[in-house]
Amino acid sequence: MFASIYRQESAILGFSLNAMANNSPDLESTDFRSYPEIGDYAVIGDCRSAALVSKYGWIDWLCWPRFDSPSIFAALLDRERGGFWRISPIGPFSIEREYLDGSNVLQTKFQTSGGVVTLTDLMPVRDSIRLLMVPDHEIIRRLSCADGEVEIEIELAPRANYGETIPPIRDCGKLGIRIDNGHGVYWLRGDASFQIANSSVLARATLRAGDTLSFSFSYTENAPAVLPPVEHLAERVETCIKWWENWTAQLKYDGDFQDEVMRSALALKLMIFSPSGAIIAAPTTSLPERIGGDLNWDYRYCWLRDASLTIRALIELGFWAEATSFLDWMLHATRLTQPQLRILYSLYGNQPPKERTSKVLRGYRGSSPVRIGNAARDQLQLDVYGEVVDAAAQFAFHGGELDREMQKALLGFGDYVAKHWDSPDQGIWEPRTNPRNHTHSRLLCWTALDRLISLSEQGKLKRAPLDEYKTQAEAIRQQIQLRAWNENLQSYVSELEGEKLDSSLLLLSWYGFEKADAPRMRSTYRKLRERLSTPEGLLYRSEDLPPEGTFAICSFWEAEYLALGGGTTRQARELIDTLTKYRNDLGLYGEEIDGNTGQALGNFPQAFTHVGYIGAALSLNQREKGEQQLAHRPESATPQPSNTKQES
């Protein structure tokens, strides 16, 4: 549980926030106009969109109706122009916050010198309320005072379209506050008395022990909008909590790090766009990989490269519905481009918008530009074929059935890989440079053919040109062994005939190319630690990239590599223990971890990092129980690398 102490100093829109003296010696100051740490955020969501809530009670990021829609709150990227919704006590307060057990319902407890008030934040999941008349998209915030007397201030500053538009606000009396954004309308309802000033909605209230205040902020592009009665919000909070509890009850994991694995699964679930089954990389754009730098990207799209590890995590945790939907989305939403695959897609399988930079938002702590859309959409990354085929193979090896259309798509990918695997590409890290011959891309091309051979030989895939696949898989295998292995370094390297290392080389074992305890892998691992590790045990992703934080998933790949046989279970457990300390107080990870400060960097929270946590815990648990690991490759379809046999 996190606990910290703050005091508001700013005067915002005419309200004096210094009204209360600092009576308690325990309560300290902070400037609310400054940016919170990235790790100070919590995420709430409804499996269609998500909001980031800072520990001070501000909602600083919200895009409706979908993850990739324009924002209405973006104070995350510009405190003055972005828009926010703040509910917090007036005067100094201390904070404790947590997610309610087994749910994505956030509770923040504010303790002031006068009393204690708890703020509950959630976005109702529509599946839980299908039969009722409810808003299309909604955030419910509910305050309850447990002790004493607390004065609360509410401020909602809507700034639509990434801060570019200040939408008109109208007080519609008993219907609520209406904010019309042209093609959509927002409604704010609550049992406080609202005022409109400076294009914001303001309210103040004093809560005494036993008092509650509820607010609903909703959005629809369909009229008539549903305006929920405020007196029903408490009941709807309970319904939503139950829905999450029922969802987490499906979790089939009884190993170590159970709470952490559950939190990672819950975070991952928030990033699944339930209408299509697509999984976004993160719900935010342009949180920087380097504070003040320009490594700011829009992650609100679906990267196919995350597919394989994600499907494995979902299936082995028991979330078959999500795994099946994701696989369906991958194989059906990508039809327009098959057999070619793009590296990223929008939530419904279209090409994401062209990248542009915001002219309004100045970026998190001045980290500009703020990018909307992602230029990586035009890149070539050959590894995605292996990711998609491997995801389908895991699904099949775990008992799922590949229908005719799926089989046809997989064969199309196989034929494409067999013809193009020897081409240079941009590789897994998407550097905006010329294409190169990346080892990781070759590995995934080998993986694609290897899994297709396995599927075919097990009768799960019909009409595969086995001879061709075997010939090409063997050619890739030989190329990796001969040209991606650097004899001087005694290590695999990131590019053919290269000198530099890359943490994605740890995946050579994950995909079954080399056993984790093979001499070449052990030697590569030692070299990776030497060149890419921090003293605290975190890993940078590559020697080739500009300065940035350590890449969280790479550290989990390392933990999983150790769990798969590259080290002892004790080593794997210790590393997972270490990495667990870098979560925020709610159990969330960003994309990167600052190697010096340990703070989260990059878009937040990051699905891939949570998938990494789950994968490492699963592999450790399986090894400790003597269970088969990585069931996506029950047996090698192509011969094991000859050097492994010799050196073993």
Partner: protein, 158 residues
């Protein structure tokens, strides 16, 4: 009255009306979802409401076309522009009188005076349905003008 001609022309005109209203929502001219608006008179369940509302609107429009046909026959005149004028008049009545009375008729629509309740939670349309988007009157006028024009073009006097 030419019943056979009414059945055909009324059906085509109503289908066009429904299509235009749905299209104008898709084109973001209006937020008004007519099937949902009408269907929620019968059920609060979203998907069913849309289906019931679409069918209801179709039947309603078909029956309503009888009034147009009656005017055509009474005036012994039928052509596209006369139909179009009737459609515009129809839209005007709908937007002013109809939309003002809707909260009183619709069992699930809130009123500005009382606000939402457990049963009445839907946003009222306001004057000229402007609460559903400021271009809503335009789309309603266009759709009903097309309804009248198509009916005027296809209907043959007895």
């Amino acid at each position: 009255m030419n019943w056979e001609s009414w059945i055909l022309s009324g059906f085509v005109a109503t289908l066009s009306l429904s299509t235009l209203l749905v299209t104008s929502q898709g084109l973001r001219l209006t937020r008004m979802n007519v099937p949902y608006l009408l269907g929620t008179i019968i059920t609060p369940e979203r998907e069913r409401a849309r289906l019931y509302g679409f069918l209801g609107h179709l039947i309603n429009g078909w029956i309503f076309s009888l009034l147009y046909v009656y005017i055509f026959e009474a005036r012994h005149m039928v052509n596209w522009w006369f139909g179009l004028l009737l459609g515009l008049a129809h839209a005007m009545v709908l937007l002013t009188v109809g939309m003002t009375l809707l909260p009183s008729i619709h069992p699930r629509m809130a009123t500005e005076r009382k606000g939402p309740s457990a049963r009445r939670q839907l946003e009222p349309p306001g004057f000229m349905a402007l609460n559903y988007g400021y271009q809503t009157p335009i789309s309603v006028f266009i759709a009903h003008a097309a309804f009248g024009a198509i009916l005027g073009s296809l209907y043959h006097l007895h």
